[in-house]
């Protein structure tokens, strides 16, 4: 099989303004990937599938990855103009110094495609695409028209990461229910706090349970309930005691 660089060259020969970048992978697996520009992705994908030498007819895996905004602190060499008194005269000189800067690298969402060839029995080739940011309406082109196998996987990414795939024939939530608002696989997703009555002995859970209990007792519903109303199958259950 061709190396990633060769494939890149082939793509660039076929789709001139493809703007493919090689992303190297430092792990021993050596699966380097190609980053596509979303604008030309469909053409590149079509080329990869139909090129007689490559024939990546089998799209195995489609994944989303969330890269949240991250604060990078780096040491930068800066040159700045400083007014100094040199030889008794005040002048502006350029001086280079090192300083620690904090900047926020803007986050993005990424989609990773793993391609194999069934006809030629080679692979994988890894394709990646990035969104511009992490808002709720980020768009990427869908590769489902090229490979049907992307259909459910892209729906899943839409469901869990919130990437909208343009050109997808049936983009609906797949795993969560219709009407669910969040994107749970994003790294900043906060899941609903429903451990409150969990009877495990973990302290934080117990604390939350206590808080919940206080909240619950303040609600009118709890007051309406007759004391000792049958709970469970007839027997009045001892209110879930955790005692030692």
């Amino acid at each position: 099989m061709k190396t990633v660089e060769e494939i890149k060259a082939a793509i660039e020969a076929a789709v001139p303004d493809a703007a493919v970048e090689v992303v190297s992978n430092p792990s021993p697996s050596g699966q380097h990937s190609l980053r596509l520009a979303p604008a030309r992705a469909l053409e590149v994908a079509k080329f990869l599938r139909d090129d007689p030498e490559l024939t990546f007819d089998f799209l195995s895996n489609v994944t989303g990855v969330d890269w949240p905004d991250k604060e990078v602190s780096e040491r930068v060499k800066v040159t700045r103009q400083v007014t100094k008194v040199v030889d008794g005269v005040e002048q502006t000189v350029e001086e280079s110094a090192e300083e620690t800067r904090k900047r926020v690298e803007p986050g993005f969402l990424e989609v990773v495609y793993h391609l194999y060839s069934v006809a030629k029995k080679h692979g994988p080739v890894v394709l990646r695409m990035r969104t511009v940011n992490r808002t709720n309406a980020v768009e990427l082109p869908s590769l489902t028209p090229i490979w049907r196998s992307a259909e459910f996987q892209e729906r899943e990414i839409f469901d869990l990461f919130g990437i909208v795939f343009t050109g997808h024939p049936d983009l609906r939530r797949i795993l969560m229910w219709e009407g669910f608002k969040d994107y749970p696989m994003r790294r900043d997703y906060v899941e609903p706090d429903d451990f409150e009555y969990e009877p495990t002995a973990h302290d934080e859970v117990l604390k939350r349970a206590q808080e919940h209990r206080n909240r619950e007792q303040a609600t009118p519903a709890a007051k309406e309930r007759p004391p000792g109303a049958p709970a469970g199958n007839g027997e009045t259950r001892e209110q879930g005691l955790i005692a030692e």
Partner: protein, 223 residues
């Protein structure tokens, strides 16, 4: 011919029907509450805590290092460490768990706690008849319920327990040997120190003596 395959199938089932009256292979039911298949030795259900000797609290191998609590994938272990210390299996003073809970309504029987435990303190039980109608009380095992003697461990996993015991014994022997060596070393050191000290002392006394001797005349002289 139409119907041939059907007849073949019918013969097959008939064979099984008749066979169920004669062959054990064709009547595989184990009538559970009365008959039981012996569990394989490796069989695992939920963890328990091993203790040595007869007193479950004193002999508990667990030193509340909380590794298992951290490594437990579903986070079903909860440990509180004691403030004081008691001697462990080896004899070293160690902390012990004042609280060791396993929520078996969460536990996934993965055995990772056993793998990561450096003290051979937590092992897998093979008792599976734990059904209960008590959602909370019945399914939260505290350290009292979890503690099982080493003999029980030997009973359910004999090979493994023997290995563990050998390992522990070796460790203990090593520790003892080390302790002994250390003790000897300390003794020797102490002796050496003593000797040195004595020497120093003797020298000192000698010098003192000398000095005193020296001094004495002067003192004497002074007197």
């Amino acid at each position: 011919m139409l119907g041939e395959g059907i007849i073949k199938g019918l013969l097959e089932t008939a064979r099984n029907f008749a066979g169920s009256y004669v062959s054990k292979e064709r009547l595989t039911t184990v009538q559970y509450p009365e008959e039981r298949e012996p569990l394989p030795e490796a069989s695992r259900v939920f963890p328990f805590l091993v203790y040595d000797g007869s007193d479950w609290l004193a002999g508990m191998r667990c030193v509340a290092c909380q590794i298992c609590e951290k490594e437990c994938p579903p986070k079903c272990i909860y440990i509180e460490k004691s403030a004081d210390k008691k001697p462990d299996a080896v004899g070293k003073p160690q902390a012990y768990p004042t609280r060791f809970d396993i929520d078996i309504s969460v536990c996934m029987s993965c055995q990772i706690c056993v793998e990561v435990c450096p003290f051979e303190a937590i092992k897998m039980d093979n008792k599976f008849e734990l059904a209960t109608d008590d959602r909370f009380g019945g399914l939260l095992l505290d350290r009292k319920k979890l503690a099982k003697p080493n003999e029980y461990y030997h009973q359910i996993h004999p090979t493994e327990a023997a290995e563990v015991d050998a390992r522990l014994a070796a460790e203990r022997a090593a520790v003892e040997a080390k302790a002994k060596a250390a003790a000897e070393a300390t003794a020797a050191k102490a002796a050496a120190a003593k000797a040195a000290a004595e020497k120093v002392a003797s020298e000192k006394t000698a010098t003192e003596k000398a000095s005193s001797e020296k001094n004495t005349p002067s003192a004497g002289g002074g007197a």
